[in-house]
């Protein structure tokens, strides 16, 4: 028994070390948010971290004083709420329709097409988007011209991006989520459907009273996971797909873009870390509260 435990410990040791180095050291690195950190020449990271000056909540104060911050937070929250809603409704609708089709071939073709974007990088996707939206060469502008409308300079046009980003995000991610729901639907005993049919349930009744309650636990889990990331966005979508265009930041800058720029463009570790801490902290608190609330209603639900 002891020998077995030692073997298992050794077996899991490399991964444990990985977690220590790449997850837990950075978690302790949160103290950066309360410091005015810079690497002291010739000294190690740890020494510099201890030696750098404590500034209390100074970094946070600057965040709140930043005139762009309101806009950045609003962008982040609005996109995430829309993604949360559409990213649940659209995949479920697709999964239900897919499960009803008679032809296995059609099902398989649709799955294949829907999951493919998941495996393409944001860099590649940004080229796709550019092929559509480029001012001089884009397909969309060619179409606008052909029907006698003025071309639109999309990369300078903040108003267009909420719609563009929502479409791109759904195209890239809805397929993956759909397959999660779809395979969950398939794993359900077919008799459940048949007995509902025997009882004379209509299609809508089936969806309302059989399928949706069935998907309930999974909807809860995925929604909880998303709530934990309510202030986090996909950097690739908001930085890369927009080509980091300065004139559309009003509708495209999110907290992650800000965190990246504060760190890389300004080398301001404390500032960047403070923004991350707020982002992660609020997400974690929301997740815990929501999980607690759901457990109150139904002890079997929730994640942890």
């Amino acid at each position: 028994m002891r020998k077995k435990n030692i073997s298992l410990f050794l077996l899991s040791l490399p991964t444990a070390i990985w977690y220590l180095l790449f997850c837990y050291l950075p978690i302790f690195g949160i103290v950066l948010a309360f410091k005015r950190y810079r690497l002291i020449p010739g000294k190690s990271f740890v020494y510099s971290l201890f030696a750098s000056e404590w500034v209390g909540f100074e970094n946070f104060r600057f965040l709140f004083l930043n005139p762009q911050m309101g806009r950045i937070v609003r962008n982040t929250l609005s996109y995430n709420l829309i993604f949360l809603l559409l990213g649940t409704v659209v995949p479920i609708a697709l999964a239900i329709v897919l499960s009803m089709l008679h032809s296995k071939k059609v099902q398989s073709i649709f799955q294949m097409s829907a999951l493919l974007p998941h495996f393409l990088s944001w860099i590649v996707v940004s080229y796709f988007v550019f092929a559509f939206l480029s001012t001089e060469r884009g397909i969309v502008n060619a179409f606008l011209l052909s029907v006698g409308l003025d071309p639109v300079n999309f990369y300078q046009q903040p108003g267009a991006w909420p719609v563009i980003l929502i479409i791109v995000q759904l195209w890239k991610t809805a397929g993956y989520t759909m397959i999660l729901y779809y395979s969950y639907l398939l794993s359900v005993d077919q008799e459940l459907y048949d007995s509902a049919v025997v009882d004379g349930a209509s299609l809508w009744q089936m969806i309302r009273y059989v399928i949706l309650p069935l998907l309930g636990p999974m909807i809860i889990v995925l929604t909880l996971l998303n709530l934990g990331h309510i202030l986090s966005t996909d950097f690739g979508l908001f930085y890369q797909v927009t080509r980091n265009s300065g004139s559309i930041l009003a509708t495209t800058e999110t907290i992650d873009v800000f965190v990246y720029k504060a760190l890389i463009d300004q080398s301001n570790f404390g500032y960047s870390a403070a923004a991350s801490l707020i982002q992660n902290g609020i997400g974690a608190i929301l997740l815990i509260l929501a999980n607690y609330g759901i457990k109150k209603i139904d002890p079997d639900r929730g994640i942890v």
Binding site: K3, K4, N5, S7, L8, F9, L10, L11, S12, P14, T15, A16, Y19, L21, F22, Y24, L25, P26, I27, F28, G29, I30, V97, M100, L101, V106, F110, Q111, M112, S113, A114, L115, L116, P117, F119, L120, I123, V124, V125, S126, Y127, A131, R137, A142, I179, L180, S187, G228, F235, R243, D256, L263, I264, F269, G270, S272, S276, L277, N280, G283
Partner: protein
């Protein structure tokens, strides 16, 4: 669930239409890569270019130097990275799937926590560059993304449900060490899930660009992965076109179709292998959900 014949026909047609629409961007980029530079300059990007041309690909293969090196970087990162990931994920997944492992519960919590809470970019960046010295090394493209809590949990579920306790016990009675059991029984019995996760990781490593953006400086272009090369090309092209307006010089190289040809080259391995692996992905996702 059954629907009528007519409803099935309409819905099937709708879903097929959606499948086609979803693939349009891929089709468009392929067509642009086969357009002549002249027809792009005249008509812009077209689904059916006025003049077909393989000029971009010819140029691509004549100037393979930098691309070939980046291809090497990407290939190395993809192979090494996904093997390392599999090792880290499978060993930990197995360890915490065993009820007798005393650290199992603590480990499980420590693995789940980072899914919801991280130190943030600045802290990771400081640790990776200033403590671990990963800046401008190939390890910066491999190590930070080598492990995934999500896949460890999928692995644990799989080991619990698919590997009967009796097999392990029988092997132990035979006196086999736990490492031998892991190598000789557990790994061969888990091939499907290992292949699935390995493929997911391989595709992810093939798409590496973010870690290069963070950790590889412009002075170390020999470490650029392909995707990052594409990223650099985009910003350079913008620079080139803006300076072009100033000087009025039009370069001879097929820039537009060339870039799209590189996009096609980068996604080609995914497009070609994906249909064969697609079933694995779906199965892998299914097995991970558990109930």
């Amino acid at each position: 669930m059954r629907i009528g014949k007519r409803a099935n026909l309409i819905l099937s047609a709708g879903m097929m239409l959606l499948s086609v629409i979803g693939m349009i961007p891929v089709f468009l980029v392929i067509m642009v890569s086969f357009s002549s530079e002249g027809s792009i300059a005249r008509d812009g990007y077209r689904f059916l270019p006025a003049v077909f041309s393989t000029e971009a690909y010819r140029y691509l293969f004549e100037n393979l130097g930098g691309i070939l090196r980046s291809f090497g970087v990407t290939l190395f990162v993809t192979v090494t990275g996904s093997l390392l990931s599999l090792f880290l994920i499978a060993t930990m997944g197995f360890a915490i799937s065993r009820k007798e492992f005393k650290l199992g519960k603590i480990y499980a919590v420590l693995i789940i926590l980072p899914m919801f809470f991280s130190g943030g970019l600045a802290a990771s960046y400081a640790v990776n560059t200033q403590l671990l010295g990963l800046k401008n090394t190939i390890f910066a493209l491999i190590l930070p993304s080598a492990c995934s809590s999500w896949y460890i949990l999928i692995m644990r579920t799989y080991f619990r449900e698919s590997i009967p306790e009796e097999v392990l016990e029988a092997a132990q009675i035979d006196g086999a060490s736990f490492f031998a059991i892991f190598g000789r029984f557990v790994i061969p019995m888990s091939k499907p899930i290992l292949v699935t996760i390995g493929l997911f990781e391989a595709f992810a490593y093939w798409n590496t660009w973010y870690d290069a953006l963070l950790y590889i400086d412009s002075g170390h272009s020999s470490l650029y992965p392909l995707q990052y090369l594409l990223y650099i090309m985009q910003s350079k092209a913008e620079f080139a076109s803006s300076s072009q307006n100033v000087t009025g010089v039009i370069e001879k190289i097929p820039t537009e179709s060339f870039r799209m040809a590189l996009v096609v080259l980068i996604i080609a391995p995914i497009l070609v292998t994906y249909p064969f692996f697609h079933k694995f992905f779906v199965k892998g996702l299914t097995s991970g959900i558990g109930k």
